[in-house]
Structure formats: structure tokens, C-alpha cells
């Protein structure tokens, strides 16, 4: 049942759509509102004033503002996985079925037991975290922090994964206009009429800014009607993009802006395929920042009570939403906008019980307005305290003379002047400048291509804003090369906007809040100053003033003005904290966009992927690649059984493995050989055409970078391979060497990793199998095509191919490459033609087992800390030439003969399992770090030998051959004896390679 029927809704007023009644709940209580409402306006329409509890003291809080600067009215929206904490009710667009809840209260909003914090507030002053919970230190993590987190804080994150999707997009334009108030609209219009590509972005769901909130006339029309006519014209230009519900949150280099578009925040569940939010990167040749100005409150006692509201917000609720935010109001102000507030309140039928102005002499116009409506005027006066608990019941007013007086009211409309919303103008480092006449900071030097217009610049008054917008918009278009003239200025008046700086009532009896979101009081600011935190940045960190979701939009200036008064400095000398992006909160989901789960990074598939999938392969992610790890046969339930079968088949017959993931690079040019000599430690220029050679590259610092093979197809044509992991790194390295170190060499580098499907065909029957696919007259015999030979040929009746007699497995083996589109066919053909030999496909596991059996180093050994000598490849380094990394590899630390070197290990008890990562300790030594001799890097069960084998780095390796050591793995509780052996466990002479 609906609780109340929008008792505070005004008849015939507001820009809401009364034909669309929307149901929603707040803390489980059903209410109604209209399309065009925010949650805040709908709650106010239903007479709901209390909407939350404060961060630290759990004080009752209401709605202070009508915009994104709201510090108090933070609520949880929706439920379950879509539960979304800390949403400002003032910007949450109402939709049918919206579930909203208050947060940070126990057990309920009206009765919050933690409000007792208010009574112990002397212990919760500024910096209390640092002072109170110091001892014993061990209690911090277990007790204090969890306790504080439970008692203080904001809403709760949803426990489940966000079910919605997020999107990222880019837009380019000649002129970006941020903000669609009077100034922004005129800027967009002038630029659009000149033919520029224009983006107009506004954070609200409706364009118009203050023209929707203030009862003003433009060109004889209501503000809203004039806005509608401008929007209609803007829509008629094909080059104009209108983006409502879009907050431009940051300005970055060279005219790039970040913006978040709330695509589907205003519906319960986004439609299929529609993202919840979209993150925009907007690249603008020129930009016009017209984000308006935010009103600041005045700091007085109990100024956080529900019913204390910014005067501009009061006008917004009346004019835009048709809601009376109170029945009897007191207006507390230091500037001329009070007149508009009084007029709007009176016209909405709200009794104005008093105008309290800090100025001692009010302009006659305001006085006569007050007189006309019978409003009591308090000049040179302040509201010292609001009265009431969970709702304002009155104001205690102190004038410059006479005793304090109490005036009954349920609404205090407060205005301390306006702060231009200049945050975005400072994101690239410019500092705002203070203007005494406005009592506000205005934008300082602007980044190239950026202009500011309207009240964001400190230009107040409707007519002035319209005029300035037209000029700035035309100038932005003209700067982009368009013939532009300022749009004709519509008729409007400038409202009086005189202000007299006033920040803080010091005669308050009650807590006076500077930062309502963080419960920072005037007393906290005084305390921080006394304790030496006299810079605004220190004040912020110590008291938390200006932090959290509102980033101090209603508190920073008051805070620093108070600090200036306390330190005796001027406001410009005190300065202002730096505003950094984002301007308003941005959900992490929007920043991540579609890059989550499997889309976090792309997946690369090998040419035989589809075939391997059909074959039931188990896949493993290796970097971006998805590779077949092993191919279980029916009945094989244990991976080790499968892998042992694959290894045995290769060793006894033939197997095929997709090695297309290796990096492949074409090196061409008359200086190709010379170039490779300089990047490999060994000589490549002497390699004969039709031959391949193993090679090793070092980083500049002398550490081993990567290994692979180089094949020579012509004098000026090499083809090199890299490890899978380093394919891109090596390519970058080679390009760097080519372009930067030796631009004089005639070398061209082309990456071709994706061009070739490359399969290893290994085992004693490899030649027999390949003989069935190579086209005549290619002679594949051992004599014609010996170990380390390479050739270009055709296979399967005319497919261009390359054949390499290389072996990683230790068996007689080949690698065969065909253009990737033929990879699937080649694999299927090898399998069918190999049936008679019992051919097996093998995956990365068997590949790994065989390389460990052969003592070949790989990723675990090429780990970025090891040298060639460490890897047992020191002798490969040529002494006849220079190469990248040579000099630094001779540093004493790297050339130390006592560095751990790669050796092999086998368990003394042949049934024992070796563990990668185990540390080697002398047999009788204690297993502590100082006795550490090295560690195991790679282990495998060797089906060829029938026991585990391992590779590892061992200090003093050469003198320890045959020694028995402990291999201690404290992580997995393993401590076994191992024997130090040669790293080559299988066919030490390499006889099997050459048959």
C-alpha cells in the first residue's frame, strides 16, 4: 500500500510528467513519484526528509542539494547482484519499481543505536584513528579496523558479480560543450550553426541546467520552453551529438576527456544487449566548460539537520520537480539570490518566516520584496543553530544586536554564495585564482583548446551567461577553421548577484559541520590547525575534509576559508586542494568496460585448434594462447598416463605437436647476417644457405633474453624463431636495434608468427610419415636432408611449405610449416597418414617432459636472472665479434664462476617425486636460507627412465657432480635426497637426432 500520496507535491508546477506515475520503495515502504523525478525529489514529494545517517556520528541526515554535489543523501539502490551503494538520491533518476534503502544505520533509519557515537564525539575528533587505536599495535588489524569499518562507512557492495555489461567508446568533435545551462546551450548553438562537429554533454537526464531550476524568462518563454527550442534546433544538425546522463569527469592530454554515460541507470534492468553505462573517451579539438557553479552552505550549529537545504536546491525542487521541500522556511543568506528564493517559496505557498542575511545593509529591492510578502528581515544576522533532531523545527537567530531569537520553521534555505564548478579546468595542473568580488575561486590558466563560459567562469547573471556562451562557442568553432558568428543573444535579464563573503557562524552552540559527508566539524578544523596541520592538503588528510564521493564540493571552500582565518593568511595564500579526476564518482565497471572474464585479454588460437578440440584435447592457457596440453584417449583418466603414452609413442614411433605459437620473424636484407651476428651471442653470418642453427640473445644488461633457431633460405634471407612467451619482446628488441642502433644496415624485419602453421613431427618414424606428404621430387632422405637442414618445398600436391630438420624432443624430428589456412588440413592429413605408424598428437606436457629429459632450457630457466653461463651455454658466445649484452655480461657479478649453473637431478629413491621450487641443501646441513645451494626449476616424470628427473640451478655445480643433496620443499613438506647429474638424461650423444 502506498504510504502517502505525494503530500508535498505542488499543483501545476514542475517539469515532471504527471501522466506517468511510478511506484518505488524506500526502506521497504511503498511510495509514488513521477517520470522526471529524482529519487530525492520523489522522497521530498512524499514528505520524507530523513534519508540517511552520517558517516561517523550516525546523525540523522536529509537532502542538502539537488545535484551531484550531495554529501548526505547517499542510498543503496536495487537489490541482489545489482545492489549499488552510495548513490546520491539527488541524481538517481526515478523509475518504476526502484528499490532504495538508507545505509549506515542499525537497526533502522529512525532508531540508529550507533548514534551513541555522537555522545562520545570528544574521542572521535580529527585524526582520532591515529590517536586512539595505537596500542597494542597487534589489535589494529584484528579488532580496531574491522570495528571501525563496521561502525563507520557508507553502503555495502553487492556480494555477487555485477550481472550488467559496460561499454567503452570514443567520440571525436570540433567543439565539446560540457554543461547545458544557458551558457553551454548558446556555445553549442553558435558552434553548431557554424557547421562544427559538436558534442553537448550534461550530467542530468534533462538538458537546461539552471534554466530548469529557476523561474526565468528567455526570449519571452519560460526557461524550459526556450531550452526545448534550442535542443530541437541542435538536433537538426547532423554533426551535433547530444549526450544527456553523461558526466565529463576528467580532462586529459591534448583535448581528450573522460566521460561516463549512464545508459541504463534509469531502468530496473538494462534491455538485452544494452550496457548499463558507457565510458567515453572524447577527443575534442576545442572545448567549452560550462558546468555552472555550485552553491556553498554556511557552517552553523546543527546545519546538518534534515530540513537544512541549499537555497538553489530549494528552488530546483519547487520549479523543476514541483515539490515544496517544507511548509515554513527561514532563508539564511549572504547574497542577492535570496530574492529568487523568497519569490519561489512564496509562489509555492511556503510560508517564509524570516530572511536572515549576514549583510548589515540589504539592497532595497530585497527589503521591499520581503516587506511585500510580510517577511521578517534580520540584517547583519546569522542562524546560529538549527533546532530539532531528525527534522528541523526552528532556527536560533542571532542579530548584531538584541537577544537571540527562535523562529519556528521546518526548512532553512541556506546560501553562502557560489563556487564555479572549475574542477575539470584544473585536471591538467592549472590552479584556480581567487576573486574577492565573487568570494570564489575562478579558473586560472586553461589548457590549450579549452575555454570556460558562464558561471563556471564566475560570470553570473542569465543575460551575461547567454552572451558569453554564444561568444565562446563561436570562438571555439572559428579556432577550428569554421566561419562562425555568435548566435543572436535572446532577451533575458541579469539577476543581481552581489555577495559578501561569509563562511562560518562562530556563535553556534551545537556541532557545526564543514564537511557533512565525512562528519568534519568546525571544531575539527580548529583542532587540526592547533595540531600543526596548517596547509590545506594536510588539513584534508588529517580530518578527511573534502574526501569521499562528493570530493568536498560543498565543504572545501568553507574549510579553507576557516583555515585561512585561523592562520591569519588570506584565502589565496592558503590555496585550495587540487581537484583530480574524476569530477564525480565513476563505477569501476565502467572503467573496465567489456574487458572482464574471458574478455580481459584476447585469446589466440593455434591453426590446429578446431581439430584438437574435436579430438578431445585438454587445453592450457600459455600467455594469450590456448594450447593443447595433452590428448587423452578413451579410458585414460589420469593426465600422467596420457602424457607418458604420448612421450613413449614419440620415442618409439612418431608424434605431432602444434608449435605454431613460437615467435617467427623474417629477417631480410643484404646486411641480415651482419645484423644477426650483432643480436645473437653466436655467429649467424657463417650459417650456410639451407641450414639452421640454435641461437641465444642477451638483453643489453647481459642477462639471457631468449633462445631459438635461425634458418637461412638465401644470402639475404633468414627466418628466426623465438620462444612463445618472448615473441613480441624479441620483435621489439630487433626493431629497436635496427632502427636505433644500426640504421645504416640494410635489414628489413617482418613478423610472421601468424603466417605459418608449424608442426613438430618427431620420432623414429617421422621421416616415414613426412615422406607421405612431401611432393616429388623433394628428397627427404637423411643424406639429402640431414640434421639441421632447412628447405622450401611443396606438400600435399602444391601447398607451399618449409621444412626444418630440428629437434626439441631429442628424437629424429622435423618442423614443417605451411600457410596457416592449410594448418587444419595438414594436421588431419598427418594423423590419417600416420595411422599405420601409430602416430599420436602430443601437447605441451609431453613437449615439456621430453625437453627436460634432454636438458633443454626453457622458460623456468630463462627467467630473467640467468646468464648464458648459468644455462650451460657460455661456450656458445663468440669471442670473434661484438653482440648486444656482451660487455655487461662480463660484469664481475655475472661472470662469477660460482654462480649457480644448470644441472640435472634424480631422486636417490627412484619412487620419490621431485618438486619444482625445492631448495638444495648439503646432506648434513640444516635447511635454512644461509645453507641454500640453489633450487629446482623444472621437473617431470620420465617415462623413458621410469623415475622423476629435474633441472635446477646449483652453486658450484661442476664440483658437485655425483653428490647427494637434500631437495627441501617446505611449501609442500617434501624433503628428499637427490643426486646431482648431467642435465641431459636421454641420449647424451645425440645419436638419435642424426639417423
Amino acid at each position: 500500500m502506498t504510504q502517502s500520496a505525494q503530500t508535498s507535491r505542488l499543483n501545476n508546477r514542475g517539469l515532471i510528467d504527471r501522466s506517468q506515475l511510478l511506484d518505488f520503495t524506500f526502506d521497504g515502504v511503498p511510495y509514488t513519484g513521477y517520470a522526471g523525478d529524482t529519487l530525492a525529489s520523489a522522497l521530498l514529494a512524499n514528505g520524507v526528509r530523513l534519508v540517511g545517517r552520517s558517516f561517523k556520528y550516525h546523525r540523522p541526515r536529509g537532502i542538502l542539494t539537488a545535484g551531484s554535489e550531495e554529501p548526505n543523501a547517499l542510498v543503496e539502490l536495487r537489490s541482489g547482484a545489482r545492489r549499488e551503494p552510495n548513490t546520491r538520491a539527488t541524481v538517481a533518476e526515478l523509475f518504476g519499481g526502484l528499490e532504495a534503502k538508507s545505509q549506515n544505520r542499525f537497526p533502522s533509519l529512525s532508531l540508529d543505536l550507533l548514534a551513541i557515537n555522537g555522545l562520545v564525539s570528544p574521542f572521535l575528533s580529527a585524526g582520532f584513528y591515529y590517536k586512539t587505536f595505537m596500542w597494542p599495535a597487534a589489535f589494529w588489524e584484528k579488532l580496531y579496523e574491522p570495528m571501525i569499518r563496521r561502525a563507520a562507512g557508507l553502503g555495502r557492495a553487492a556480494p555477487e558479480q555485477d550481472p550488467d555489461s559496460y561499454d567503452k567508446a570514443t567520440a571525436y568533435c570540433d567543439v565539446l560543450v560540457v554543461g547545458s545551462g544557458p551558457s553551454g546551450l548558446m556555445a553549442a548553438l553558435s558552434a553548431a550553426r557554424a557547421g562544427a562537429r559538436v558534442i553537448l554533454a550534461d550530467e542530468s537526464f534533462a538538458f537546461g541546467g539552471r534554466l530548469l531550476s529557476d523561474a526565468r524568462t528567455v526570449d519571452g518563454k519560460s526557461g524550459a520552453d526556450w531550452v526545448a527550442s534550442v535542443i530541437a534546433e541542435l538536433k537538426s544538425f547532423p554533426g551535433v551529438k547530444l549526450m544527456s546522463r553523461t558526466t565529463v569527469f576528467g580532462a586529459y592530454d591534448t583535448g581528450t576527456f573522460g566521460a561516463v554515460e549512464r545508459v541504463a541507470d534509469h531502468v530496473a534492468i538494462p534491455a538485452a544487449g544494452v550496457p548499463r553505462q558507457r565510458l567515453w573517451r572524447i577527443v575534442a579539438k576545442h572545448s567549452v566548460i560550462a558546468q555552472g557553479a555550485g552553491e556553498r552552505p554556511i557552517v552553523f550549529g546543527n546545519n546538518d539537520r534534515p530540513g537544512v537545504m541549499l537555497a538553489s536546491a530549494v528552488r530546483t525542487y519547487i520549479n523543476r520537480f514541483g515539490v515544496a521541500p517544507g511548509g515554513t522556511a527561514v532563508v539564511f543568506s549572504n547574497n542577492d539570490e535570496a530574492a529568487s528564493t523568497i519569490q519561489d517559496l512564496v509562489s509555492a505557498g511556503v510560508t517564509v518566516a524570516g530572511l536572515v542575511d549576514t549583510r548589515t545593509s540589504l539592497p532595497p529591492a530585497i527589503k521591499s520584496l520581503a516587506r511585500k510578502h510580510g517577511i521578517r528581515v534580520f540584517e547583519g544576522a546569522v542562524v546560529a543553530d538549527a533546532l530539532g533532531g531528525s527534522r528541523v523545527t526552528g532556527a536560533r537567530i542571532i542579530a548584531s544586536y538584541g537577544a537571540p531569537q527562535t523562529v519556528a520553521c521546518d526548512l532553512i534555505a541556506v546560501s553562502g554564495g557560489f563556487n564555479p564548478n572549475l574542477q575539470v579546468t584544473t585536471h591538467q595542473g592549472s590552479r584556480p585564482q581567487w576573486r574577492d568580488d565573487l568570494a570564489a575561486f575562478v579558473p586560472g590558466a586553461l589548457p590549450k583548446g579549452m575555454a570556460v563560459s558562464g558561471s563556471a567562469k564566475g560570470t553570473y547573471g542569465l543575460a551575461s551567461c547567454l552572451k558569453e556562451g554564444a561568444q565562446v562557442g563561436a570562438a571555439a568553432a572559428a579556432a577550428g577553421g569554421f566561419v562562425a558568428t555568435a548566435a543572436a543573444i535572446p532577451t533575458a535579464d541579469d539577476e543581481p548577484a552581489e555577495v559578501s563573503a561569509f563562511w562560518h557562524v562562530d556563535s553556534s552552540k551545537h556541532k557545526a559541520f564543514v564537511d557533512q559527508q565525512n562528519d568534519v566539524t568546525a571544531a575539527d578544523v580548529r583542532l587540526a590547525e592547533r595540531e600543526g596541520f596548517q596547509s590545506v592538503e594536510h588539513l584534508k588528510r588529517y580530518t578527511t575534509l573534502g574526501m569521499a564521493t562528493d570530493q568536498g564540493k560543498t565543504s572545501n571552500i568553507n574549510g579553507l576559508a576557516m583555515l585561512a582565518a585561523l592562520t591569519g593568511k588570506t584565502i589565496p595564500a592558503t590555496g585550495v586542494t587540487a581537484a583530480r579526476p574524476p569530477y564525480t564518482p565513476v563505477a569501476l565497471g565502467a572503467l573496465a568496460g567489456e574487458h572482464r572474464d574471458k574478455h580481459f585479454k584476447p585469446t589466440r588460437l593455434t591453426p590446429s585448434h578446431d581439430w584438437a578440440k574435436e579430438r578431445g584435447a585438454v587445453f592450457i592457457e600459455t600467455g594469450l594462447w590456448l594450447r593443447a596440453q595433452y590428448f587423452p584417449k578413451p579410458g585414460e583418466t589420469d593426465w600422467l598416463t596420457t602424457v607418458c603414452r604420448e612421450v613413449s609413442t614419440v620415442r618409439n614411433s612418431v608424434g605431432v605437436c602444434d608449435v605454431s605459437t613460437l615467435g617467427k620473424i623474417e629477417i631480410h636484407g643484404t646486411d641480415a647476417g651482419k645484423f644477426l651476428d650483432r643480436v645473437y651471442i653466436n655467429m649467424m653470418s657463417t650459417l650456410g644457405v639451407g641450414k639452421a642453427r640454435y641461437g641465444m640473445m642477451l638483453r643489453e644488461d647481459g642477462i639471457a633474453m631468449d633462445d631459438g633457431t635461425a634458418a637461412r633460405f638465401a644470402d639475404d634471407h633468414y627466418f628466426i624463431t623465438t620462444t612463445t612467451a618472448n615473441a613480441i619482446k624479441v620483435l621489439q628488441h630487433l626493431e629497436f636495434c635496427r632502427q636505433w642502433h644500426w640504421p645504416d644496415l640494410d635489414v628489413q624485419i617482418v613478423p610472421v608468427s601468424d603466417q605459418w602453421a608449424q608442426y613438430s613431427v618427431a620420432g623414429p618414424r617421422a621421416r616415414d610419415l613426412l615422406a607421405k606428404i612431401v611432393d616429388a621430387p623433394f628428397d627427404i632422405s637423411n643424406a639429402a636432408f640431414p640434421y639441421m637442414a632447412v628447405a622450401e618445398l611443396t606438400v600435399l600436391g602444391g601447398i607451399k611449405a618449409r621444412l626444418y630438420r630440428l629437434s626439441f624432443s631429442g628424437e629424429m624430428a622435423y618442423e614443417i610449416g605451411v600457410p596457416a589456412r592449410h594448418g587444419d588440413l595438414l594436421m588431419r592429413t598427418l594423423m590419417s597418414k600416420g595411422e599405420e605408424f601409430g602416430v599420436t598428437p602430443y601437447g605441451t606436457e609431453a613437449l615439456g617432459v621430453m625437453r627436460i629429459e634432454k636438458g633443454h632450457v626453457a622458460g623456468p630457466e630463462l627467467n630473467g636472472t640467468t646468464t648464458c653461463a648459468d644455462l650451460g651455454l657460455g661456450k656458445m658466445a663468440s669471442t670473434k665479434k661484438d653482440f648486444v649484452g656482451r660487455i655487461l655480461s662480463q660484469r664481475p657479478g655475472l661472470a662469477d664462476p660460482n654462480r649457480p649453473r644448470v644441472v640435472g637431478f634424480k631422486p636417490v629413491d627412484k619412487s620419490a617425486r621431485l618438486r619444482g621450487g625445492a631448495h638444495f641443501i648439503a646432506k648434513d646441513a640444516e635447511p635454512v636460507a644461509k645453507n641454500d645451494l640453489g633450487f629446482m626449476t623444472s621437473v617431470a616424470f620420465s617415462p623413458s627412465l621410469g623415475h622423476w628427473v629435474g633441472l635446477g640451478f646449483l652453486a658450484g655445480a661442476e664440483s658437485r657432480m655425483g653428490e647427494i643433496l637434500r631437495a627441501v620443499d617446505p611449501v609442500r613438506n617434501s624433503d628428499i635426497l637427490v643426486e646431482v647429474v648431467s642435465p641431459v638424461f636421454y641420449d647424451g650423444e645425440g645419436a638419435r637426432l642424426r639417423v
Binding site: K168, A169, T170, A171, Y172, R197, G273, R281, V283, E594, H595, H599, K601, P602, T603, R604, L605, T606, D610, W625, E666, H668, G669, T670, D671, D716, H717, D744, L745, D746, V747, Q748, V750, P751, V752, S753, D754, Q755, W756, K800, P819, A820, R821
Partner: protein, 177 residues
């Protein structure tokens, strides 16, 4: 690649995977740029572009891909080995590599791309900025891609690494949803 074609079909995109092509990477040998250009003009009637442009050249498309580097895209013809012919034509003046299988080329046949495609590209894809014959080397959703607009303005080609082509098709489908 049938799965790809299927993906695209499901998205009812005006996109197709281009097949029946030979793509040759041509990189000028050091100091041979001018002579190479002479030979190219004789063979194709046009100069090799020296800025990010794609030019039509007697049935072939020459796409700039970097300083002194191009892709030459040719439709396969029975009995002809385009790569071998080019290698002969440019012998000694350029390094040639057959990269037909290095990339998958998607074509969106449209005089201008859809609004969603526009906003999903990291570059300014607006028709006034990305004109017929323009080339961009950019990235999309973590994937490197070379984009060119056909010199006659009738279509856009997207060349992405072959092993990423399913990811790219997936992106294309989402971007066009």
C-alpha cells in the same frame, strides 16, 4: 574459418571475411626507395604512397603500413603466383614476404560505417576525417588492426592478426549489435 563466417552471419552484419587474396609485405631495401618507386610506377602506374594511404593500382591495392613499407593486396587468379611475380618485379629493391595468412581481412561494405562502429573505434572514423583511401594502424579492444577505406569509398577493410580473428569478429558483432 567457417565459424567466423557464421558469427558474422548471426550478427547480420554487412561484414565479410575476404578470401582468395594474396597479400605481400613489401619493405624497401636501404637506399632503394627511389628506384623502387620507378619500378612500382612502371608495374602499377602509381607511386608507392609515403603517408597512410591506400591506392588502387591496376587491380591491386597498395596499402601504406609504415615508413617504406606496404602491403600489396591482390585477388587470386588461376595460374598466377602474385607473390612470385612481385618478388621478381622488385628483386633487389625490396624485401618481400608473403603474409597472406598473417592477417584476416574483414570487409564492411558501406559508404559510411554504422554509428556503433564509429564509436567503438579508437580513431576518428568520421567520414570527413577518414576519407576514401585513408589508412590507420590502430587497435580495437586490445587487438591490433590496420584499417583502410577503399579509394572508391565503397567499403572499409579491417586487417587483424589471424590468430585474433575470432576475437575481432566477436568485437565486430558486439560493436554492431
Amino acid at each position: 574459418m567457417s565459424e567466423l563466417a557464421n558469427d558474422i552471419k548471426k550478427a547480420s552484419l554487412e561484414a565479410s571475411e575476404r578470401t582468395g587474396l594474396t597479400v605481400t609485405h613489401v619493405a624497401a631495401r636501404r637506399g632503394a626507395r627511389a628506384s623502387l618507386d620507378d619500378v612500382a610506377r612502371a608495374a602499377f602506374g602509381v607511386s608507392l604512397p609515403s603517408s597512410p594511404k591506400a591506392v588502387e593500382a591496376r587491380g591491386a591495392l597498395i596499402v601504406w603500413t609504415g615508413p617504406d613499407q606496404w602491403l600489396i593486396v591482390q585477388k587470386d587468379e588461376t595460374g598466377r603466383d602474385h607473390y612470385a611475380e612481385l618478388a621478381k618485379t622488385f628483386n633487389g629493391l625490396a624485401s618481400l614476404v608473403d603474409v597472406t595468412d598473417s592477417r584476416t581481412i574483414f570487409r564492411i561494405a558501406a559508404s559510411r560505417p554504422s554509428e556503433t562502429l564509429l564509436r567503438n573505434m579508437g580513431i576518428d572514423f568520421h567520414e570527413n576525417s577518414f576519407q576514401p583511401g585513408d589508412v590507420a594502424i590502430t587497435h580495437v579492444s586490445h587487438l591490433g588492426v590496420i584499417v583502410w577505406r577503399l579509394p572508391d569509398g565503397t567499403a572499409y577493410d579491417f586487417a587483424c592478426a589471424r590468430t585474433y580473428s575470432r576475437e575481432f569478429a566477436d568485437w565486430l558483432r558486439k560493436a554492431s549489435a
